[in-house]
């Protein structure tokens, strides 16, 4: 994936660029708002990582400018402001996701990869499939190897989110935000319990596990070996 990092802090930017390159991405870097805007205008990136506070031009302004020019590259906003209202403001300006500093690199990576994939995914699919696991988004039903799997509504939502991002790592925070719509971290790791319940329903009686735990990062659903 080709990623544009717009971040003015040298150390943070260097660390981001290095980490993303190690994950096999092609990374460009801009250290201020106007440069970031100019580079984003080239429309060669699949994902933009945008710091909110930038010299020259505020990150949200850059995003608004891009969206006005119909450049719809997905943007992940990075900010030291982590409150729900700030998130809402960032997303309203045209950002696609929001991550508060400080963040774990795995969290950022998972979100960047999800964003990059979101663009290529067909938005109006009514069926999703991973290996022999299949869900019908209209009927809200799930089947594995032709067998019906009975899911609670929230379990279905969880599985749907995992399957929309099949092959990518999704973090616990992403699941809390997207499946439960909670923008805070509960004190206990509640997600793990829900994942293990889902896993019991979709993987337990089958030889090949589809739902995998990615240590230190989150979960991913995929068929076959990576």
């Amino acid at each position: 994936m080709r990623v544009l990092v717009v971040e003015d802090d040298k150390e943070a930017a260097g660390w981001l660029v290095k980490g993303l390159k190690e994950e096999g991405h092609v990374v460009d870097h801009a250290a201020n708002g106007p440069d970031g805007l100019a580079m984003a205008m080239e429309k060669v990136h699949e994902v933009i990582i945008m710091d909110r506070m930038l010299p020259g031009m505020d990150g949200l302004t850059v995003i608004s400018e891009l969206r006005r020019d119909s450049i719809n590259t997905p943007v992940l906003i990075l900010s030291a402001l982590g409150e729900v209202d700030d998130k809402v403001m960032g997303l309203r300006a045209g950002g696609d996701d929001y991550l508060a500093k400080p963040y774990a690199f795995n969290e950022l990576l998972a979100r960047v990869e999800t964003l990059g994939r979101r663009k290529s995914a067909e938005p109006h699919k009514t069926r999703l499939q991973v290996g022999d696991l299949e869900i019908d988004l209209l009927a809200r039903t799930a089947k594995r190897a032709g067998e019906d799997i009975l899911l609670q509504p929230r379990e279905f939502k969880l599985l749907e989110y995992l399957m929309r991002n099949a092959g990518s790592v999704v973090t616990r925070t992403m699941l809390l935000e997207n499946v439960w719509n909670y923008h805070f971290d509960p004190q206990t790791n509640v997600i793990d319990v829900h994942i293990s319940r889902l896993r019991a329903k979709i993987d337990k009686e089958f030889d090949e596990p589809l739902l995998h735990t990615v240590r230190g990062a989150g979960y991913t659903i995929r068929a076959g070996q990576p």
Binding site: E83, D185, T188, V190
Partner: protein, 462 residues
């Protein structure tokens, strides 16, 4: 600003001056009315009497002729007290009356005149003023009938002078009184100003002077003092929080540092890895503590109040129960629900959900039943007598002693029983500040056995 000028620009003085002006005008009007009633009316009366008398004499003249008139004039000249009379013939010579000569002012056919005439007293002759009515009769006779108005003149003068003096005194006394009251008032305000300046300079124990009279300045001072007390309380709270934060963050930071140092010394790459992973976990928990502190600060600052919308607590509670139910079940317990059809209050969904997850989380961690060792939690919504709603989370665990029920709402307070469990001691503090933001209350009660925590929301109206 010099003291005198300050006095003159004070609002009390200006108010006093306006009041004095209005008062002086009223006094002048009253005195003027009195003067007019006494002096002017009396003079008018004299003139009327004189005119009537002259008319009467003229009538006598027409009926009884010059001789009759002469008799009457002479009679009245002798008998009348204070009356002056003169009757002259056609060449101007006196034929009757007590005046020595016709007054020079009496020209023309008829009219009213004031003139001076010689008045005989025991010691000699003095000039007195008289007011007279004169008329020209047939045959060149002229009749002047008057009254000595010297006494009245003097009386009028006295009245006029007294009235002017009264007005002057009113002005002087009013001005003096005004200055005195405004100086008094100004002095009290100045004392308040001095006190506030001392407080601003850093002496926070200083308070506004209260005279004890209970007047409006006293009430103002009392309000200011209450406000200062409140500020003091808040500052003391903040000081305590900052020192608590410093103290509670020192422990994990020390661990962080020690672990890194230890790993560096060891030189074994496996130890490095373990230490780094442990440090990341430690940093994450520090971050969680900071986030909780920020959430509390934000809720306490009241900034999130605009985020309050009519929210149904029922689906909110169902969501939290759905999130935590499996956790309780995995711990061998259960999370029971008893909810009404709906319970709408003004709330911020995220904050209330966060508060509720904190409570349920606590109940799962600390609310385990002593016999079974499992958390049995009941989550319900009650309608309050006043029309509000309360989310109630109760468990069958050891509960919290009466002595600790208020204390656990403070930041970083962890009861001994909970020290073995991970946690920041901020959970209930956050719940408390979230409830304050909603204009509600966090109540910690006895579920007998167990703990009952209530989130009480005021009615949705308003």
């Amino acid at each position: 600003m010099p003291v005198n000028l300050k006095l003159l620009t004070s609002s009390t003085f200006r108010l006093g001056a306006v009041y004095l002006t209005v008062f002086a005008i009223s006094v002048a009007a009253i005195l003027g009315y009195i003067y007019w009633n006494t002096a002017i009316l009396l003079e008018q009366q004299i003139e009327d009497t004189l005119e009537a008398e002259v008319q009467g004499l003229a009538e006598q003249y027409r009926q009884r002729g010059p001789a009759g008139l002469l008799d009457i004039v002479n009679l009245r000249s002798r008998e009348s007290e204070g009356g002056v009379y003169i009757l002259t013939n056609s060449i101007g010579r006196r034929v009757a009356g007590n005046l020595p000569a016709l007054p020079a002012e009496a020209v023309g056919e008829r009219g009213v005149i004031d003139f001076q005439y010689p008045y005989e007293t025991a010691t000699g002759t003095v000039q007195h003023t008289a007011r007279a009515f004169y008329i020209q009769l047939d045959g060149g006779l002229r009749l002047v009938v008057g009254r000595d108005v010297e006494e009245r003149r003097r009386f009028n003068d006295i009245i006029r002078t007294s009235l002017l003096w009264a007005l002057g005194l009113t002005l002087v006394l009013g001005m003096g009184g005004g200055l005195l009251t405004s100086r008094n008032f100004l002095r009290r305000i100045d004392r308040i100003n001095d006190a506030s300046r001392t407080i601003m300079a850093g002496d926070l124990a200083q308070r506004m002077p209260v005279s004890g009279s209970g007047d409006e300045i006293d009430r103002l001072s009392s309000s200011l003092n209450d406000m200062l007390d409140q500020i003091n309380r808040l500052m003391a709270g903040m000081k305590e929080v900052s020192s608590n934060v410093a103290h509670d963050l020192r422990t994990p930071l020390t661990r962080l540092r020690a672990r890194a140092e230890d790993a560096l010394r060891s030189g074994n790459p496996d130890d490095h890895r373990t230490a780094l992973e442990a440090n990341i976990a430690e940093a994450d928990s520090l971050l969680a503590t900071f986030n909780a502190l920020l959430s509390i600060a934000r809720a306490e600052a009241g900034q999130a109040r605009e985020g309050l919308h009519p929210t149904d607590l029922v689906p909110l509670a169902e969501d939290v129960a759905e999130l935590y139910g499996p956790i309780a079940e995995d711990a061998g317990g259960q999370l029971g629900l008893s909810l009404p059809a709906s319970a709408v209050v003004r709330a911020d969904r995220q904050l209330v959900a966060q508060a509720l997850t904190n409570l349920v989380d606590n109940a799962i961690k600390y609310g385990r039943n002593a016999q079974s060792g499992a958390p049995v939690i009941q989550l319900s919504i009650e309608i309050q007598p006043g029309g509000g709603h309360a989310i109630v989370v109760s468990d069958t665990g050891p509960g919290i002693g009466v002595a600790d029920r208020e204390r656990v709402k403070d930041r970083f307070v962890r009861l001994d029983a909970s020290r073995s469990q991970p946690g920041s001691g901020l959970g209930l503090a956050l719940v408390d500040s979230v409830m304050k933001l909603h204009g509600g209350k966090l109540l910690i009660e006895d579920a007998a056995p167990g703990l009952m925590v209530k989130l009480v929301f005021p009615p949705a109206t308003g």
